[in-house]
Amino acid sequence: MLGTQLTALTSGHPAALTDALDLVAGVDAALTRGLARVGEADATALAGLAGALAATPLADLVAEAIDKICAGSVTPEHLAALAGARSALLGAAHDALLGQLDAALGRGRDPWSVAPAPPAGPSPVLATVRAWLHEVAVTGWHGVDHELVAAAGTPVEAALAAPESRRLAVLLDGLAAELRACVPVATMPQVPARRWADLWARGVLLAQDAAAVDPPADVVDRVDGRLLPLGVDVHEHDTAMQIQVHGLLEPAAGGPPRLVRTAVGAAKVDTIVGPALWRLLQAHPTLLTALAQRRGVTVTDLPARGADLHWHDDRAQLDEPVDPFAAARVLLPGAQAAAIAPLNRHPAAIAEPVLLEGYAVRDHDGGLAADLDGRPLAVAVDRLPSCGPLTPEVVAASSACLGLLRWDDGRWLLQPLAVRADVKRKVVDVHTGDWACGVSDAKVAKAEAKTGDAVAVLRERAGRLLRR
């Protein structure tokens, strides 16, 4: 990424973005106070949302739903319309921001190919989830208490037990854990209103009977080629974790490299943290080795949908070592990206790999910023995972960075996945995935050994106590 590209990215917002986000903030405030009795300010904000969607196919549905919600009769259909309207607005914001990014970087992007959704019948699991989300919306974040949080137990358990509702279960479990830690919410100095409304709205959409979110196996593409990992992004909450590897795929059939990603994950508990996370992914040894040893991988007949490769470790073979910085320098500018599924469009989903070189890191607004030709790009230091060696100190000493461009709260951010840094007068490459096959830093390994193997201890306890 060049200075001129960063300038193009950060000078000015897409048209009407601020207005759209203000409308979203109005909905978030209404959900904070609850929909049981909608006050005048919230009614105005909700009417504004309906007005913004007046020229869309959702217009009548949303207008009627918001009329009824403001009049005090909230049905599940009205809430679905509200969640849909808010999501449509943020989806449009996502498209505008990604369009700005693609224009700045000169990145080509294939459109999403629509596949027919399989018919879905009514699901009792989804009904219990909708009921809880309904209760939450009517109550409002400020009214959330121990009882309402405890009531999430049944829908979470039901959703976890059904593999097809895994996405919904993971979302709901993460939201419920946050609410549990914040109860009574009314005493919080500030509510994370945007975030909780995001999770609520996505939950409502995923809990609709028609939400066929994962395409059946016969509509996905199959890919063959060489995968060059660029870096790995780590996600976790108390009971779930996922690594998402961003890479370049050189198709075996020829053609330009594709910008792809692949994710593998596992269920976990809150006491499994830090480098122990990697031990939950031992079913994917080829992928972990490729990360730890920085090697390419030859993949054969791997199912794919858009940019997402659905990982099968047995269809992957380790290839030659690859320098991710060199691969990015040569191949990333011409790589072809792909759009994401329409339902997933949200600014929080933007995670676009970039290579930055020749910047200076300096303090900026209480955090770090990479200064490229006099233009600062804030570094998302709170997105550096404790399972890897990449720390804010290493980032501060760096001069080259492979990272993800992200967008949150009105600004672009750089999430480092790997840096080339000057540590003790030696130039070293540090990647978030360096410890995928075990900790290579003696000091950290010793601290790890001291706390013991959390996964093993809990598996022993589970073996002794669970099947009684």
């Binding site: 994370p192 975030r195 976790e236 998402q244 596992a266 106590l465």
Partner: protein, 168 residues
């Protein structure tokens, strides 16, 4: 709560609302949680590998109890909290930090308190039997996560939950 005073907090999508648990040894106290208005958890018996104790301390009233998972009262409760409760409190402080535990219990930690056992000894705590079944079944549910299958299809919603805490 991290960053809660930050003005932009309410308008950010990706914030870590709850700080991640700090690493600790799990052998003695495999399960600790702040839930249902209690500090509660499971303590492995020191003498019998098949036995566990369920210990809890209620927020506000500071009523405590300890029993086996079959509801047999702990022999160590003689007018004061037993060693299992002290171990539970110690591990809770390691996992969540003293501030968060004290705030949840609505207790004033006071000066010089660093461990959970010290915090417990400062409380005007009293014994009040509570059923072990709820806590024990929460522990079993906790363990059942480790039996859940992994996934190799993306979970897009986890983008709201970035891993954090490098260099902690």
């Amino acid at each position: 709560m991290a960053d809660v005073d930050d003005a932009g907090w309410a308008r950010r999508s990706s914030v870590r609302v709850v700080p991640p648990a700090r690493p600790r040894k799990l052998a003695k106290v495999p399960f600790v949680e702040l839930a249902d208005g209690r500090l509660q958890g499971v303590v492995s018996s020191g003498s019998d590998i098949e036995r566990v104790y369920v210990s809890s301390l209620t927020s506000g009233t500071h009523a405590y109890h300890c029993s086996t998972n079959n509801n047999r009262p702990c022999g160590g409760l003689r007018g004061t909290p037993c060693k299992h409760l002290a171990a539970l409190a110690d591990e809770a402080v390691l996992q969540y930090g003293l501030d968060r535990v004290a705030r949840y219990l609505r207790a004033d930690a006071g000066d010089g308190v660093t461990t959970g056992a010290e915090l417990l000894s400062r409380l005007d705590a009293r014994h009040e039997p509570t059923p072990a079944a709820v806590v024990f079944s929460r522990f079993l549910r906790h363990l059942s996560y480790l039996e859940a299958p992994g996934n190799s299809t993306p979970l897009p919603e986890l983008h709201w939950f970035p891993a954090t805490g490098a260099g902690r």
